[in-house]
Amino acid sequence: MSIDEVQAKMTSVQTESKPAAKEKYGYFLGCVMPAKMPWAEKATILVSKHLGLDFDYMKETLCCVRPGVWKAMNPDWWLTLTSQNLANAEKQGIILVDSCNGCWISHFECLEELKQEPEKMAMINKNLSKIGMKLEGSVKVKHFLEVLYEDVGIEKIKANVKRPLNLRIMRHLGCHARKKGDEFLPRYFDEILKAIGVEIIDTPYDKTCCGLLLYFGDPDSAIFERVGRKMKTAMDLGVDAYAIICSGCYDQFERGVKVMKEEQGVTLEVPIVHFSELLALAFGYKPEDFGMEYCRPIPTTRLIEKFKEGK
């Protein structure tokens, strides 16, 4: 086989939907996404199907069982309650996909811990047996970024871009997504954003926590020193949007925007958008296809105008 033939084959492998024929993905919505981010939910479904993934909702989902609350109260309670979601996914024969970092870390760490510690696996199965359920541990948990980057591939994502986005954005990945180092989800996030034509503006606050859990104990720092500082920087830099992927982080950003407006009289103007919305726009969907203009603490009007005018 010539070098040209090898390269052509590699390109073909990268641009084809690698997992579509085999893997069945179940999207775990979590608590925030269906209640506060319907535009992101819709965009994620659109994008996933557009890329040829066998991607649908995971059914019968509960709260991921927030480790920041439950693990802090009692690690065994957290393992037990989280394993109900894992057992459900296993029964449904799907790969459990999270786009919320909080949900992902809860499922991922719970499964890892149970696989490594048989006595804990026995403990949760004893508990699950009370409700007629069982966890074998064969289920897979993946972050949505992992699915896009590793299973779909960056070349296929690029191949699907109909309209490169001429947007300058600040981005917030979130703490839990950094668990396995910068070469994993942080790189995937940036590379996918660059693949759709986005210009990423780096700032000193990119790795700062959103303050979601800090809010419980130190609300002033969580709002003013985290969300406030990030969003004011976005305004100062005049970026078009603030891109996030984690629903938990979005919850905190939304809270911060409301607190600053209602209680401080500060109006923040850079819209917070979900990563999937940017992909949907780049793939040729219109903002109205996923309700981009609705139910937001900061309107997306200016962003949508810029997108439609193709500036």
Binding site: K36, E41, E60, T61, L62, K130, G217, E263, C295
Partner: protein
Amino acid sequence: MSDETKIKSWKRLLDSGKGITEHKQGEESKEYPWRKSFRPAAPDIAKPSLKRDFEVGLVYYVGDDVEQDRALCGLEKKPPTAHTFKDALDKKRALLEGTGIMKELGFDKKKGKFEY
């Protein structure tokens, strides 16, 4: 953490957590504080979200306003979560009861309160 924050919504959240906490310690515990019955504490600030979790299986309700927003975005009004599949919620509640977690937390589901 003192309550001297600038943020009113945080104070309301904390008050809400305190409001769903019922202290049922006997007279003896006032005289002898070390004889107070102990529960692994769910912090007051986290109690409102825990209560919602016990009631619907998730941290946020999906009411008429949310259903309307979802429809505007082209989604089913009810998400395919425990908001729709009550069986999942029933199982979660049975798990919480069967493992003694509810009792340990002191949550009385009829009153919707945490008792201490």
